[in-house]
Amino acid sequence: MIHMTINNQKVAVEDGSTILEAARKLKIRIPTLCHLDLHDIRMVNRGASCRVCVVEVEGRRNLAPSCSTPVMEGMVVTTNSLRCIQARRTIIELFLSNHPKDCLVCEKSLGCELQALAAEYHIRSIRYQGERATHPIDVSSRAIIRNMDKCIMCRRCETMCNEVQTVHVLSAINRGFDTYIAASMNMPMNESTCVFCGQCVAVCPTAALTEVSHIDNVWNALNDKNKIVVVQTAPAVRVALGEEFGEEPGTIVTGKMVAALRRLGFDKVFDTDFAADLTIMEEATEFIHRLKHGGKLPILTSCCPGWVKFFEHQFNDMLDIPSTSKSPHEMFGAIAKSYYAEKMGIPPQNICVVSVMPCLAKKYEAARPELSQDGLQNVDEVITTRELARMLKEANIDLMQLEDEDYDDPLGESTGASVIFGTTGGVIEAALRTAYEWLTNETLKKVEFHDLRGFDGIKEAVIKINDMDVKIAVAHGLGNARTLLENIREGKADYHGIEIMACPGGCIGGGGQPYHHGDINVIKKRMEGIYKEDKDKKLRKSHENPYIKKLYEEYLGEPYGERAHELLHTHYVKRKKM
């Protein structure tokens, strides 16, 4: 242990700690801006570039960045001297001197970390004026808007994109005052190898990175008398939406969310969970088919559009191993515009499918040309959890004051297996619950596969099914996915099935979720919420969903059959590596 003094208070901390960590132990707040420590997912931004967290260290010539200065025995630190405060104030003023200052109309107003800091330091004038760096706004992609005028060069997005996700799209170019973050080769985002996981947006402290909003489109659709607007909600949304209304992370607001969506004017409120059960029917069948017929193994899950685009770029020599199943919300769209439309006698072109997703890549996915039927996209609009909250606020709907309501039939019923799609490990666990019973013809007693749960980057389990040891691996975060896939490519791994989710933690940590502002516990609590929702469900295996059974009986026929293929499966595109 290292003994030191901060602001005249003594503290003992572990060797290797930073001054910031030591100060937090004493409950002394040191403001930070570029710093972000999500070490559970290996996202540690310790570039010490913003210099907001500088403190005085006795015997040191200049101020020390507390976020990255290791503690030393006998160190004497002052965090709130006039010298520190003036330095911080000046740094904030310098930031503001190069910032658009359109806070009133900014996308991140009241959610911006720079704005909060300026308020905390009571900045009332900006002494230094001068040139403001301006860059064209990149609106080329369907998911992410990059407005570098609002960038403060904290480099969190860069760390996330390169070190955690290993997508290697974002990096700083130019130097000095002209430095800014660009997509690789300074290309527009839509031409880059960006997979639109949105993790850069999730960690951006300002409005430099935001989502492409579909709110207006949704309002217009709701206002269009000729449209039947059906909405579906992804599993991870129900455990996070409450945060936007002051609730603790992980609070389950499923019933209130359904009620709120009805009040917004959606004609039908359905659940992506239903389609998740459908996905399991297809994927588990495909898995068993490959196991029995010597098909390509391992099978990779394909629910995550960020992951799909990632392997299309980075592992484009292995396009034959992912499952061909569409992602759940796309399956939902396909069923809504075929089975449901027929059943209700609505022309499919009059149905508008809106997805509420924790994800930015879903916005991109919805526009993929192959995810369509007869010239109609399976899904029309995608809004994020954050956008839904904004719509509710615009409509003056106070979520937490509503009484719980139920989803509509027939696409609203779901099992616990589908709920856990929202977290890392959940998809493969759901698939195993079904595959086990189908392969063994026995009832699975212990439905929870604890080896596949939790925050480890790569999780492994061997499941005994009949005489066979089925080897399973789970990865979340694309860096972990890359490791796993490289092992497979090099023949170092012999798994049967692999689940991959692009975002750390899975969909609960998606790029469209309420901002966690660097607190990993937010994501952990959402995970608890997901597993609780599963536990409380009467039905916990997808193949037990009565509406799914009915769907196959009435319309699809066999899982993995001809009709299912046409509506519920897709193919992949070989994309450039760089």
Partner: protein, 597 residues
Amino acid sequence: MSNVRMHLLVCGGTGCTSSDSLKLLDHLNESIKQHGLSEEVEVVVTGCFGFCEKGPIIKVYPDGVFYVSVKPEDAEDIVTEHIIKGRQIDRLLFTDPHGKGKLEGQKDLPFYKKQIRIALRNCGFIDPENIHESLAADGYKALGKCLTELTPDEVIDTVVQSGLRGRGGGGFPTGLKWKYTRKSKSKEKYIICNADEGDPGAFMDRSILEGDPHSVLEAMAIAGYAIGAEHGYIYIRAEYPLAIHRLVVAIDQARELGLLGEDILGTGFNFDIELRYGAGAFVCGEETALIHSIEGDRGEPFTKPPFPAESGVWNQPTCVNNVETLANISPIFLKGADWFRSIGTEKSPGTKVFALAGKVNNVGLVEVPMGITLREVIFNIGGGIKNNKKFKAVQTGGPSGGCITEEYLDIPIDYETLGSIGSMMGSGGMIVMDEDNCMVDIAKFYLEFTVDESCGKCTPCRIGNKRMFEIMVNIAKGKGTEQDLSDLRELGEIIKDTSLCGLGQTAPNPVLSTMKYFQDEYRAHVIEKRCPAGVCQDLLIYHILPDKCVGCTACARVCPVPCISGEVKKVHEIDQELCIKCGACFAKCKFNAIEKR
């Protein structure tokens, strides 16, 4: 026995080659061939002699005659007169500006008299592309000694005892750096030679690499042996093609002789060196940024600790030494640490190479003992101020050093003293300014350089220095206020206090030091809207003197605006509102009737 009776040394440094020394070389070779002297005379291309002001330089052995400003046309005379007839060519000898006539030998020149050449010992003496000449000058002797007679700890002790300090600017004791790197436990360690010389005007590292590359390779091998590293990198900027070429040749030759590679001299010690090219970013001279650049990442510094000695390139313990520092290593082992300590001052032993530039008569590269005064360097070695102008200031330490005034000319040059008066040693740039230099303009120039060269990582350097520069531009335009002066001072101090790396921490120095020593000049710009040195264009006023103007209309005809009115043979007048201060009228007037204020 060889018939060679004469060696003709031709400077092949970058300075001399750019003033045609290669053409001179061709002419010499041709003439020697024509006169059938190829067997008797050997022409050798060497590295820089340092006296670049008077290049190209030829030195004739065995006489030791030193010719300056030699043109390709002079080749024939050198051959027919000097080589054949044994007659010195007076017109090519250096003329003593103090009237002592023609000076024949190199050591007679005032430029060389006070110099002690340790780092530059072989520059201008050997052929850098021939390892045998380096061997003849005791190259690799120190390495042989270290490998066979000394343990790594003894090697480090010798360097510690010598008191050698980093010549790249920081002045950190080299021996301690080696010691710390040796102490770090790891299988892989690295020694890096920092050859990313970036200070404007500084070229000592380039000259050493061009003139004596083996001295650096040898020192790296010694350092490798001392710290336990088998790999060395030389990080050199790609804009140094000649130095790169000479290094490539030297490394190949050293490998061929087994002085690099495996089992060096049968001692079991393995060491090899790779070159890494920098793209010319100034900040890559900062060791952590340099390490990033070697790894293929953007050249940005990172926070220390951890220091490279603990975790450097590829996260392994790494020792980064600059070229000049390394060039001092072998002599320390051959002549002893005590010998080294006997030169220079107690806290800063040895010599320092300076690139003398600016308004001084003898521009060039000089190696002087630490503790020498600025006055001796500028007035004795440098030969004083050009055109008998008045000395105003000298800027040391590169773009982020400070300006030193007349009153400090007699202080000894060493790390501490320069630091104590708001400047620094830096890598050894020394730029002399005279009464015609405007200090606001100078400070603005240096700040512009660091603003351009900032990596953009940390806020104070990226935005703060830019804001300081903008204020400086305003002051130079006559738009400055007294508030600007206090803002500059405050902002400058905070940038120094909060920037991430040495570049940002020192960038405000030129402004702060000139504000301190030339306050009146700043106030003249801000309050009187006047540039006393007549440099800041926007503050100049061109004015026609009625008693001198003859009304020739020449000024009015060259004025591009036009803002000069007046009838023929009558006094003209400049409309100050319209004048763009281009100075065309001033240059054109034959009657000195236009005054510049």
